[in-house]
Amino acid sequence: MLAYVARRFVYAVPIVLSVALVCFLLVHITPGDPLVAVLPADASQELAAQLRTAYGFDRPLPVQFGLWLWKAVHGDLGNSIATGRPVLSEVIRAVANTVTLAVVAAVIGFTLGLFFGIVAGYFRNTWIDKVATSVAIAGVSLPHYWLGMVLVIIFSVQLNWLPAVGAGPGGSGEWKWDWAHLSYLVLPAITTSVIPMGIVTRTVRALTGDILSQDFVEALRAKGLSETHVFRHVIKNAAPTALAVMGLQLGYMLGGSILIETVFSWPGSGLLLNSAIFQRDLPLLQGTILVLALFFVFLNLMVDIAQASIDPRIKRG
């Protein structure tokens, strides 16, 4: 097992480097001189030349990449052009909010998804299955940002039960786990949970159905095992794949939160990305994407290892 973990980590190194390269190149596929982004509109020629040297834009690309990577490894992702603060601290504060949102959404989405999926798998081709499958397919087909708007219309505009935007009373204060703050979390979390709910339902339904139609389940029942025992076997066999899918979904929630955070003005990494894009704050854009992607790679790695440790079929040599 230890060898397996070590090997997974070794395999992750080239991926991490490639991700860094893609993030680095992002700034260089931007139309025009990357300098434009950091230059005040009325800058003189001298200032432009000065800044060019300061940012290293005058050096060959591989050298720039090396320097950038060297700094990044040491936690220096540069400073935000808009605020002048270090990118890393901005990103970390925003990511914390996104994690809060994603974790709550994951709890909702995975619980519902597992429930619908198992029920639909057990009662395949009955009306229960049809309802669960419809919910699942609606979940994955919904434009989630629109669902967010609709929820705001119903619960904030019409019923006035929940706040529409923000992450707490009085603007962006410290996050607390009390109702005053939680009420701000309800709508974005439900919105975020819809896609993972649909995907987990689909996956678990297929898994449960497949396992139940296998010969060994017949054999278990023939042996006179209770349905509770049979259920335990189903869970054991479905767990590795279900876990992998849920891990991936958690990653998507963390990385793909920009649309929902924009709808609800949730001060997470997505909203940060949004403002970075529209203020052409390239260091911030680059840094946010890098941190989110690395997070995603790390999460995938953890899922792989967790999956291997509970699935005897994956060789751990």
Partner: protein
């Protein structure tokens, strides 16, 4: 040999070069080792699928290859067809070296193969006619004559073209599919056809029909067969000469009657004894051979059969015996017991210096 009944529009055959004395296929030292990937720390190992195999096939002859599954029969077939690259060895077609005197493309026309799985060897998206016509079209025939040829060949293999030509593989039976595969092989006017377990998956009654068809086609088209099978009865029925393979090596070869009547290698004896006898009084109660073949990954040193051989002696695990001629009539075996003067206690005394 009624040449007149052959389809007129067939591709031209590869010309007969060396005459009757030249073997149609000569294989020397054919070797294929598959690397098996080790773990992060364990070193890589190899499967010796085919190890130094040599034999000849004369023109018009049928040569059988028998052996347990995993002995390298099918790998040999794929190596001969150049579907796989070999690690060592030479393959001469009518005296011509492939890639030099004979291009690979020409060899394809001279040598064809019928696979075991009749369904997997036909493209499910093509009609039967299209599957048969594909080969000739690759070699420059136009679509219309290629389809015409396909229909004539369907007739030759006993399938009414008007019923079968436009069907898809899943719409016909296994025996019919294997007839289609034979027609597909014949469409390139080959002189040598390799039949890799071509009848093994068929029902016994269908198998007999297909074997008879093969015999008819052989005389009609003047073919030479390499017939690979694990079924000894079938091999005896159809073959002139036979090769017995064990773990990638040829352990015995010779005219089929001599090998059957006087098997020289204990493995051949065991295989023959394992055949269910037709006469219930003749049935043996004790299994002549026990255990599975050893793992072909890193096979045992010396004679590969010594781990399962009742007469194994220390010399057998020390060095492997080479194929040795037994009677001057082409019967050869690789066993110290059969080699006079080899030093094995059951070998006959040396007649000439060993």
């Amino acid at each position: 040999m009624s040449e007149a009944t052959l389809p007129k529009a067939m591709l031209e055959r590869i010309e007969d070069f060396g005459g009757a004395a030249q073997p149609l296929l000569k294989v020397v030292g054919l070797t294929k080792h598959f690397p098996v990937r080790g773990g992060l720390l364990s070193k890589a190992r190899t499967v010796r699928a085919v190890d130094n195999v040599s034999f000849e096939i004369a023109k018009g002859e049928t040569v059988g290859i028998v052996g347990e599954s995993g002995c390298g029969k099918s790998t040999t077939a794929r190596l001969l067809m150049h579907l796989m690259t070999r690690d060592a060895g030479e393959i001469l077609y009518d005296g011509m070296q492939v890639g030099r005197a004979l291009s690979l493309r020409e060899l394809r026309r001279g040598m064809q193969m019928v696979f075991q799985d009749s369904y997997a060897s036909l493209n499910p998206r093509l009609t039967i006619e299209e599957s048969i016509a594909f080969g000739p079209k690759v070699h420059g025939m136009d679509d219309a004559p290629a389809r015409k040829l396909a229909r004539e060949l369907l007739d030759k293999v006993g399938l009414r073209p008007e019923t079968f030509a436009n069907r898809y593989p899943h719409e016909i039976s296994g025996g019919q599919r294997q007839r289609v595969n034979i027609a597909r092989a014949l469409a390139l006017s080959p002189r040598l056809v390799i039949l890799d377990e071509a009848v093994s998956a068929l029902d016994k009654s269908v198998e007999a029909q297909v074997l008879n068809l093969l015999a008819d086609l052989k005389s009609e088209f003047g073919l030479t067969y390499l017939f690979i099978s694990h079924d000894l009865n079938v091999v005896r029925y159809i073959s002139d000469r036979v090769l017995v393979m064990y773990l990638g090596e040829v352990v015995e070869l010779g005219p089929v009657d001599q090998v059957w009547d006087a098997p020289a290698h204990p493995y051949t004896r065991a295989l023959l004894a394992a055949m269910p006898a037709a006469d219930p009084d003749n049935r043996t109660e004790t299994p002549p051979i026990t255990g599975d073949p050893p793992n072909p990954i890193d096979p045992p040193p010396g004679c590969r059969f010594h781990t399962r051989c009742a007469s194994a002696e220390p010399m057998c695990s020390a060095a492997s015996p080479t194929l040795t001629d037994l009677d001057g009539a082409g019967h050869q075996a690789a066993c110290y017991m059969a080699i006079p003067g080899s030093g094995h206690s059951r070998a006959s005394a040396a007649e000439k210096a060993a």
